[in-house]
């Protein structure tokens, strides 16, 4: 058996973003995979030197072009903790609603790309068609489709009135109905299963040892989700993580599919319990100290380390994104698989490369 080295990426039809994997194959079977990152590094952390801590909200939102709101929520949560700001309950609820809308659209985007990766074009189009309605929800409620910019230190900038709440509820219900119509295709279809079941398996032990995050971890049977810690208003949502045990691509897909529906459930709960009151409080002064905050992003646990010295600019901002944590598990998933499965396996961790490289 001759050894062949196949470069996968950085430009590949299946990849929305550039990542390079050097795949070593013997015949068609992968024996080794070495990832290389760094094609889209933007130095956003360093921008903290020249932009003040309030302007940084808009900067961190641009770390990820998919779950921008959750990045900003994590960042302001850290600054608020440092400054001892009591955020109004209504603002926390609104953050949950927008976070879950973001999760919904992010998972729908992924489900589409994933379907595309295993060659199911019409399923891809269906998911993206549904996603468009979630994007409309965001534009109507927050003013923009993706980078919705609703977070400020001390609360949120926009509010939902009663009519909007009703409209969001009915739209979410409709979206869920449409997603359910695709459930059998996504979870029971023969050709889908053929491409995903027993492909890219990592066991529970491996997932824990390699530090997997998000659906990658929960797909291997570990019930770990930052929302279980009840940050923001999640303590009122009665949140239960979604777990699958197989640890293969199918399980990761199933986790995300069910989380999309769960997001709708959480939005309903949050709107039903939306308390009256202010949406933001005035914050004076500058942050000082050190803080680590964590939230659950669609791809997994997101962590911010913020160090401030009481001046306008932060001392240090460190962002650890979930895809970064999911790269080592990826290298464990590939060996033993066939070369043709590489696109599906890489997509199954939901790689967000710009996020990872910041």
């Amino acid at each position: 058996m001759a050894r062949t080295i196949v470069p996968f990426g950085p430009q590949h039809p299946v990849l929305p973003e550039p990542i390079h994997v050097t795949v070593t194959v013997e015949d068609e079977i992968i024996t080794d995979a070495v990832p290389a990152l760094g094609y889209v590094h933007r130095g956003l952390e360093t921008l903290a030197d020249v932009r003040d801590h309030v302007q940084m909200i808009q900067v961190v939102e641009r770390v990820c072009g998919i779950c921008s709101m959750i990045h900003a929520a994590c960042y302001v949560q850290g600054i608020e903790e440092m400054m001892g700001v009591e955020v109004p309950r209504r603002a926390e609820y609104l953050r949950v609603i927008w976070s879950e809308l973001h999760r919904m659209h992010s998972h729908l985007l992924w489900l589409g790309l994933y379907a595309d990766a295993f060659g199911f074009e019409s399923l891809f189009m269906q998911f993206w068609r549904i996603r468009e309605r979630v994007m409309d929800l965001m534009e109507a409620t927050a003013g923009a489709r993706v980078i919705i910019s609703v977070n400020v230190i001390g609360g949120v900038r926009r509010d939902l009135d009663e009519d909007q709440c009703k409209w969001v509820l009915s739209e979410v219900e409709d979206v869920e109905k449409q997603i359910r119509q695709l459930q059998t295709t996504m979870l029971n279809d023969y050709s889908v299963k053929k491409r995903t079941v027993d492909v890219g398996v990592i066991t529970k032990e491996q997932a824990l040892e390699l530090g997997a995050a998000g659906p990658c971890l929960r797909g291997s049977g570990v019930a770990q989700d930052m929302r279980m810690t009840g940050y923001g208003a999640y303590d009122d949502m009665g949140f239960e993580p979604i777990v699958e045990t197989a640890g293969d691509c199918y399980a990761r897909g199933a986790v995300r599919f069910r989380e999309t529906l769960q997001a709708g459930e959480i939005i309903r709960k949050a709107i039903a319990g939306l308390p009256e009151g202010e949406t933001s409080v005035k914050v004076r002064g500058r942050p000082k100290g050190e803080v680590i905050t964590r939230v659950e992003q669609p791809r997994g646990e997101l962590m911010y380390y913020i160090k401030a010295n009481g001046s306008k600019n932060l001392d240090r901002l460190r962002i650890r994104t979930p895809t970064f944590a999911n790269i080592p598990p990826l290298t464990a998933m590939l060996p033993g698989m066939e070369l043709a499965d590489v696109p599906v396996i890489i997509l199954s961790i939901d790689p967000c490369i710009s996020c990872t490289e910041r």
């Binding site: 302007q55 980078i147 119509q181």
Partner: protein
């Protein structure tokens, strides 16, 4: 694939999901954040917007009473609109149309003639 058949049949006979863009366009939602504009008569050149803008694309010159903004660097965040005490910055609900050449929005405000000092002298 069999599970997709109802969806496919429905799509076949249903309305198309896309529009005949650019012949038909979707109107933006009413409070979407779009193109920035200023009502310069109201502006008192306080420079708050220039200092708050995360993209640093606004320049305010107090002496010459000019307000400038590079619309191609603006990220439509609306922070300047929020901080302006005179409420003279606004956003359309539509984003700026693409342009062939870049330019800077230049607005000339009113030059205030030596205000406070003389006033306090005469008082």
């Amino acid at each position: 694939m069999a599970f997709m058949t109802p969806t496919i049949v429905k799509n076949f006979f249903g309305k198309p999901a896309t529009r005949m863009y650019p012949i038909t366009t979707r109107e933006p939602f009413s409070n979407a954040r779009g193109e920035l504009y200023i009502d310069v008569k109201e502006c008192n050149m306080c420079t708050l917007c220039a200092r708050a803008c995360p993209a640093q694309c606004i320049t305010v010159d107090r002496e010459k009473a000019t307000w400038e903004c590079d619309p191609f660097e603006c990220v439509y965040c609306g922070v300047c609109v929020d901080v302006c005490g005179r409420k003279c910055l606004h956003q359309h609900d539509q984003y700026r149309a693409p342009a062939v050449e870049k330019f800077v929005m230049h607005e000339q405000g009113e030059i205030k003639k030596k205000p406070k000092k003389e006033a306090s002298d005469s008082a």
